[in-house]
């Protein structure tokens, strides 16, 4: 006969108000197999746990039921308590009489009856519980960081400083991400490059870091602690080992008219180029789409149309025949830090978004976006830091900023707040005033969201000290009238329509996830939201983990974030990775599926339905080594214990430990028989 202990929790008033906990304990006491049954106000408290422990000791219990909240909440707590008394933790279960009972019912009598039934059902289940042992899996202590913006750099440095090897994969020719394009940063107005470049160099030189730029993650297989990652190193057309970054090749390149991505199209670069002077690594790439030689080759020319860069290179580093190569890496944990892109408000709209024809971006040259303003304001930018109109190079005396372009606008497809724009627009008005003393900045806003340390003060400074004029309202149209841009708007505070003249207009466009990020998410089996931002495992309690074990997040790939938030998140992720690597083996819950190889017919329905790819093929051979049959096998490192395979298996040969058919039927029978 089983010796099960039942512990009924009042959860203060949460359960006690609707469920008569004393009656539950009393009725359960009479159940066959129940050796002990009590109720208590807060079972999860220290004294509450002591009651459980003491009963195990004194009543010699071989099973425990805590009737309280959801197992999500406190199963771990009680299993730990049970284990401390030497009882296998998987002999303890929760009966959920809070979320499933007291919170959703009003009638005390009926709710109490239901609570008793819920407990009875779990008692029957526990009678069939067997001790399970924690699964231990080996771990490769090497992290992969995908994306090297400020978030990726910070995460990689923190992990590397913790003494662990890090592989960093960046798709662009240089690391740095968007922060390298910024002029000065809120809320302190320190120069972005000045604080970023040292970190970039530190990453480059760190003995624990292997930096792979101009590369992308192509395939990921395996599971937490044991990923196998295939990285595509795109052909730079330059031998990185020979190149010394002298820059002679770019000087020699005849095509100097390629719009520079780094300068957001406001400046130009050559076909062989380094994105910006402080680029890390300082090794150029050939943009094959813009290079005369490669264009000639594409047209089928046998002769080399141009070889100026190779002629100019004293180290024979230019290699026109370089091909993409692949690098395989064994990885234990992956950090995704792929950042964001800005909503393209011009003519090409992403699917499902309609854009903003009324603002004439792309047709009116002096309507620019926030990042373009950053480049104009940047000392290293295309104008050397002079804020001038792209159309005629004149200094704009009246500049207008429009906030929430794309953000908070369900009609245009994006309902979320991009979070950083209020702050950078305030910053832009200051940078403008500091450079154009007799100029007037006007901001059209919906609300000013300046929550953050020093943020509210910062926006006040923009208004009070630097004279930015803030008008609450939306702009309905921008159009050209000779040299000026007419701004047609509505002031929602005074209720007046406005028509004002501007020399330049800056649109604070929404932050969106990087293009193609869904594909990466699928490669990683990580989930993303309807906008394409990566999903965290829990919005409050597990903000830097994904639902896929061993995959972590940092920065703006998860939601719009500024630099302080991105860095904080990156350090948090690094702590998670280092924590995981602090043990030689990873411990996993043993509630995973197991296959009975004697029954399995090898139909592999389970393999087709498994969402985690945990099913592998196992060959069964006789003693002579002849193949008898091929059966399914479960990789316990990958299995998440969802039970889909168990529900699918036609021969009932796969079972989820802790939730076997026998256990589940026993629980159901207790309710219906």
């Amino acid at each position: 006969m089983a010796r099960i202990g039942v512990f009924v929790c009042h959860c203060g008033e949460n359960i006690g108000r609707t469920v008569d906990c004393a009656r539950v304990a009393n009725e359960l006491r009479d159940l066959p197999g129940v050796a002990h049954s009590v109720d208590y106000k807060y079972m999860c408290s220290d004294p509450g746990q002591s009651i459980v422990k003491q009963a195990i000791r004194e009543k010699n219990l071989d099973g425990v039921i805590v009737a309280a909240c959801s197992p999500h909440m406190h199963e771990k707590t009680f299993r730990r308590a049970v284990a401390s008394e030497g009882l296998n933790p998987f002999l303890a279960e929760m009966a959920n009489i809070r979320e499933h009972c007291s919170w959703i019912h009003e009638d005390r009598e009926k709710a109490t009856d239901k609570a008793i039934e819920v407990c009875r059902s779990i008692v029957e289940k526990v009678k069939h519980n067997v001790p399970l042992e924690t699964i231990r899996i080996p771990v490769t202590k090497r992290a992969l960081v995908i994306g090297a913006g400020i978030a990726g750099i910070q995460a990689a440095l923190d992990i590397a400083d913790g003494g662990v090897e890090v592989v960093v994969v960046e798709k662009d020719p240089s690391i740095g991400g968007h922060m390298s394009q910024l002029s000065e940063t809120f809320p302190t107005l320190d120069c972005s490059q000045c604080i970023l470049t040292p970190r970039m160099v530190e990453l480059y030189q760190h003995p624990n870091v292997k930096l792979i730029t101009y590369a992308e993650v192509e395939e990921v297989s395996g599971y937490i602690g044991n990923f196998k990652v295939k990285i595509r190193q795109k052909a730079r057309s330059v031998d990185a080992d020979k190149c010394n970054g002298c820059g002679a090749c770019a000087k020699a390149c005849p095509n100097k008219k390629v719009p520079s991505e780094f300068d957001t199209g406001l400046g130009t670069r050559t076909a062989i180029y380094v994105p910006f002077p402080q680029a890390v690594p300082n090794i150029p790439v050939i943009d094959r789409a813009a290079c005369a030689l490669f264009r000639g080759r594409a047209k089928g020319l046998k002769k080399e149309a141009c070889a100026k860069c190779r002629e100019a290179c004293s180290r024979e580093a230019i290699d026109y025949d370089q091909q993409d190569t692949f690098i395989m890496q064994d990885i234990g944990a992956i950090v995704v830090a792929t950042g964001y892109q800005l909503y393209s408000i011009g003519k090409d709209q992403p699917a499902g978004l309609t854009g903003y024809g009324e603002y004439g971006y792309g047709t009116i040259p002096d309507v620019i976006d926030g990042m373009q303003f950053e480049r104009l304001a940047s000392a290293s930018g295309p104008t050397g830091g002079r804020i001038v109109r792209p159309s005629d190079g004149k200094e704009p005396k009246r500049i207008v900023f429009l906030q929430c372009i794309g953000s908070r606008d369900p009609a245009k497809g994006i309902e979320y707040c991009s979070k950083i724009c209020c702050m950078y627009v305030a910053k832009h008005t200051m940078l403008y005033k500091h450079k154009v003393h007799d100029g007037q900045a006007t901001v059209f806003y919906m609300d000013i969201r300046a929550a953050g340390k020093g943020y509210e003060e910062f926006t006040r400074r923009a208004i009070e000290e630097d004279g930015a004029r803030y008008i609450r309202g939306r702009v309905s149209r921008l159009y050209r009238d000779g040299e000026v841009i007419k701004v047609q708007a509505f002031d929602t505070l005074s209720g007046e329509p406005i028509l004002m003249d501007a020399d330049m207009v800056v649109l604070a466009t929404a932050m969106r996830p990087q293009p193609g990020i869904q594909l990466l998410a699928q490669t990683l089996s990580a989930s993303y939201d309807q906008h394409g931002f990566f999903n965290e495992a829990h919005p409050k309690l597990r903000p830097v983990e994904t639902n896929t074990a061993g995959i972590f997040l940092a920065g703006a790939c998860q939601s719009p974030r500024d630099i302080p938030d991105s860095v904080a998140m990156a350090s948090a992720t690094a702590a998670k990775v280092l924590g995981m690597f602090s043990k030689d083996q990873l411990e996993r819950e043993p509630t995973v599926a197991r296959v009975d190889v004697s029954l399995c017919a090898g139909c592999f329905h389970c393999e087709r339905v498994c969402p985690y790819g945990a099913i592998t093929h196992l060959e069964i051979r006789d003693r002579k080594g002849n193949l008898v049959k091929v059966v399914a096998d479960v990789n316990p490192g990958v299995c998440q214990g969802c039970g889909t395979c168990q529900a699918t298996c036609p021969s009932k040969s796969v079972e989820l430990s802790g939730f076997t058919d026998e256990q589940i039927y026993a629980a159901i029978n207790a309710l219906v028989l």
């Binding site: 309609t354 903003y356 024809g357 009324e358 009609a411 149209r477 159009y479 050209r480 009238d481 007419k486």
Partner: protein, 322 residues
């Protein structure tokens, strides 16, 4: 091609020239307009300001009649009618509860199958025919296409063109040979139904529209909405300063008709307040010029062809001599 026709009240009254020109172009373009028998008010302006249910029930009655009379598509030239009919059809598709209620009110079978079309949609589908038949007759004439607020909005319901930067009317005008100018106030409001209650606002808005079109070099403003037309045409004298040349405001159908060479009289253009004489004259001029150019081109082609045959006749002989 046969299409159901819902003229609405305007096209039988203040905007008769819209109706007449539309019918004239329809004949020229082989389109049969089948007027819905027993049509009634679409519920614009006062109707839909009074009650949402009424604003859907009134158009639904007309759509049900069209369905009964075997029409798959209905052309509603007036922007307000078009907006009401299309919006009602849309609401009924989206809201099953409303659909049940409306069916009760209608007390006649209704499956909401009729597609509502606007003049721009109709003409856009006929661009090849217009291009061919007009042979560039209006080449050199500069017009400003004015869509106003209603014709392409709300987006989502009326999805045949971009709500902020529409282009269909411009494409149609270009098919006649005319140039559609690039200007700023294409989709601005003209004051609409406030013509009587807030005349000053209507005049202010209209003046801005006319001024911008003039600045862009337009010789005429093209509209496809009776309300826009009445505001900008009827009230134009109050919107213009002395010395400014008046800007003829033409319905799109009138411009297409001029492109097709139809007579102004057949299109009822005498009803305009702003004299359309000058723009009609201009159309005859461009037509004459285009014809002259075509004739010159044909003559030149004939000449070169003649030369070629002559040469073909002499060349072998010459060769023979050498």
């Amino acid at each position: 091609m046969r299409i159901g026709y819902y003229p609405g009240c305007s096209l039988h009254a203040t905007s008769r020239e819209f109706d007449e020109s539309l019918r004239a172009t329809a004949v020229a373009l082989d389109v049969e307009l089948a007027e819905i028998d027993d049509w009634s008010c679409c519920g614009a302006t006062s109707g839909h300001a009074t009650s949402h249910l009424l604003s859907v029930a009134l158009p639904a009655r007309n759509l049900a009649l069209a369905e009964e009379q075997g029409m798959q598509e209905v052309l509603a030239p007036c922007a307000a009618c078009y907006n009401r009919l299309a919006s009602a059809s849309h609401s009924l598709r989206e809201d099953a509860g409303l659909e049940i209620k409306i069916k009760e009110i209608l007390a006649r079978p209704f499956a909401n199958t009729v597609r509502v079309r606007n003049v721009m949609e109709l003409y856009r589908s006929l661009i090849p025919q217009i291009t061919e038949k007009s042979a560039g007759r209006l080449k050199g004439m500069k017009v400003a296409c004015y869509y106003g607020c209603l014709l392409v909005r709300p987006p989502g319901v009326l999805a045949f063109d971009d709500a902020e930067q529409p282009t269909s009317m411009d494409e149609i005008c270009r098919a006649t040979g005319a140039t559609s100018v690039d200007w700023n106030l294409k989709v601005e409001c003209c004051g609409g139904a406030f013509s009587l209650s807030r005349t000053a606002s209507v005049i202010r808005l209209g003046r801005a529209i006319l001024e911008d079109a003039r600045k862009a070099g337009a010789e005429a403003l093209i509209v496809a909405c009776p309300m826009c037309h009445s505001n900008l045409d009827f009230r134009q004298s109050a919107m213009t300063q002395s010395g400014e040349t008046p800007m003829p405001v033409l319905f799109l159908s009138e411009l297409v008709g001029m492109g097709l060479g139809l007579s102004a009289r057949d299109m009822g253009m005498k009803r305009h307040f702003v004299n359309t004489g000058p723009i009609e004259k201009r159309a005859t001029e461009t037509a004459a010029q285009v014809a002259a150019e075509a004739a010159a081109k044909a003559a030149k082609a004939a000449e070169t062809a003649a030369k070629a045959t002559a040469q073909a006749g002499t060349a072998p002989a010459g060769k023979g001599v050498a």
